[in-house]
Subunit: 384 residues, 2 copies
């Protein structure tokens, strides 16, 4: 049916009606007092969400622009960096580093498996000359739905003493706790169409005091993504370039909704949806790509053995107006990904599970009737 | 009054209701067939507006990101470029070039005066070694409301033979004819919150075949702004990074409205508003910053002699809910700028003129009663 789509991809994510309505307001001047007031309130909300006392800098652009900003502001040509690469996005940061002439060392793991923190420990401990300038970690690797062990790897970075930790939190921020200040994360980048419950078009970056000191001597070229300009403007509740005003109207509304729900409730909801989805897929006999202990709360990759992944994805779309994501690169056709990130309710999760169950049933596969929905329901509505 | 503001600044510009409503739709998947279809139609509309057969590449970002893309994709460190600088934006491109290690030669004129094409001719003719790689021109200099003579300067660039012409058309595209293909403009950059009748958040770039050949050997670092990625994706009606989906919904609607109005009618409307505004300010005894023959159709800078510019601007806002722009940098407090760019009607122009007339009247200045409105009306509704 037209206009009836349920978005269950890991970005863009569903947007609440009141956010859409906020975005539909007439733009106002971006240098006006009214807009400064909105920026001030948005910044307060973002600090709360990012668990930091630093200003959360907003860049008009995609999540990639935010990650590129992370790199170009705190590094110089030739700098040695370790980049965790166990999926499409980790690999992207390696490519960004190479595009800027950095000496990129990939720390890899098979797609679908987590990065091994010991690989980082070994290299960081061996670096007695302190030539490693930064370690880049994709927290939630969206392409495989694996959650990397940021806390542990960051511990080894802190033991190293001088390397900066740079975090792609694009699909983790708002889905799972990212304690920016407590963990002393130097640079954290994210994007709006994920846990923030608004459409794409804004990137977010936070920067630690330590990273700002490195900024002063870092020499990679930058202008639009020069975070120093954003910091200076943010201090005056402004922006260095014209911001995406209507998207910020939407963010303003979304942050109010998130604050009403509460951080812990938001994280618990994402955990619940992760568990419900995984339990249901397992009950339906559909294998999961990521193991239980490393599965992201943002999305679940399913790797069906006997039914084609693309068949399920296509049937979900054609028959039930549910959009899921396919696999990327060499995982294309091998997996499909169910997003449960952002403005997703228990009903949404139950709907996608029921629809997949109906598709499995229609395919003639052997399975226990009702198993998927029952397994999800047991997680979503546990007996008292 | 709340929610009653009339935006008369040179960006963001007013947005039609149907565009706002289009932006308030639920996002859809950016890799879906439905969205590809929208991208295809948007690209067709943009080609029409940009008067080119080349794909119009869309970057999630501000106008500055589009201009930075123009520079980093077609130049290499140390390259010599001429940058026209007669206002805040021309000067910005000089700063971008310097940030990337280019050898920037400014061709300057006083703020409020146009660039002198002869200055370019002299330097280009003297460059027999062909060391000048590009000439960067801000077509409509928003900070002073001066329109530079792009056609004439471009003629000298063409006579040079190898330098690329790079154009900031941020406040000229959609306001005055920018015949991209006919003039063989190599790189043209623009931004969404101007003549496109949508909010900020999208930059646009077109690239000539000649510039694409230079792209292959240009070595400035780039990733997010690597236009080759955008070209490859555009050929498949896609984008390299997640696009600002809802803004593109709005652009889709805006382009349909613009095509219904017609290019020549749009340009005539902007000329009419320029003439009406200028005639009215002159009739009210308020001097104009830019001379008649070099005045931009996008906005009009007024430099009042006996009333404070900021007093008029503040009274327009406080008493009549009309937002105009102030002066920038050393023109702060010396001028105010009336935007008449994008979705602006004859009534809007008449309103701002009447409001300024009321403020002049209340100030006790000597003036001819009704002179401003009458002068504007004579332009807007000439006798048959």
């Amino acid at each position: 049916m037209d206009d009836k789509q349920l978005l269950m991809i890991p970005g863009p994510t569903p947007v609440p009606e009141r956010v859409l309505q906020a975005m539909a307001k007439h733009p106002i001047g971006h240098r006006s007092g009214e807009f400064s007031q909105i920026l001030a309130e948005v910044n307060q909300g973002l600090k709360w969400l990012h668990q930091t006392s630093q200003d959360v800098l907003m860049v008009a652009g995609s999540g990639t622009s935010a990650m590129e900003a992370a790199m170009v502001n705190f590094l110089s040509a030739g700098d040695r960096i370790l980049v965790g690469s166990n999926g499409k996005f980790g690999e992207r940061w390696a490519l960004v580093g190479e595009a800027y002439g950095l000496t990129v060392e990939r720390v890899t793991a098979e797609w679908g498996k987590p990065l091994d923190p010991e690989d980082f420990r070994t290299r960081l401990e061996a670096d007695t000359d302190k030539t490693i300038k930064a370690v880049v970690i994709t927290h939630s690797e969206t392409s495989t739905t694996v959650l990397n062990d940021l806390e542990k790897i960051n511990g080894y970075v802190k033991a190293h003493g001088t390397a900066l930790i740079m975090v792609d939190a694009v699909t983790s921020l708002g889905a799972i706790s990212v304690p920016t200040d407590v963990w002393e994360l130097d640079v954290v980048a994210s994007g709006s169409q994920k846990g923030y419950m608004i459409p794409p078009g804004l990137g977010f970056v936070t920067v630690s005091d330590r990273a700002w000191r490195v900024y002063d001597t870092a020499t990679l070229p930058r202008f639009y993504l020069d975070l120093g300009k954003y910091r200076k403007a943010a201090a005056k509740n402004s922006t260095p370039f014209t911001p995406p005003i209507n998207l910020i109207f939407g963010l303003h509304a979304a942050l109010q909704m998130m604050q009403t729900e509460g951080l812990n409730a938001i994280f618990a909801r994402h955990q619940r949806h992760r568990q419900a989805t995984r339990a249901a897929m397992t009950a339906l006999g559909l294998p999961l790509l990521a193991a239980d202990d490393v599965a992201s709360p943002a999305a679940t990759a399913v790797a069906p053995a006997t039914i084609e992944a693309e068949y399920i994805r296509s049937a979900l779309k054609q028959r039930f107006d549910i959009l899921t994501a396919g696999g990327q690169d060499h995982l294309k056709g091998k997996i499909f990904r169910i997003g449960h990130l952002g403005f997703v309710s228990d009903r949404d999760v139950l709907s996608v599970v029921a629809a997949i169950e109906a598709i499995v049933m229609a395919s003639g596969e052997q399975y226990d009737a009702g198993a998927g929905v029952n397994a999800a329901a047991a997680v979503l509505s546990p007996k008292a």
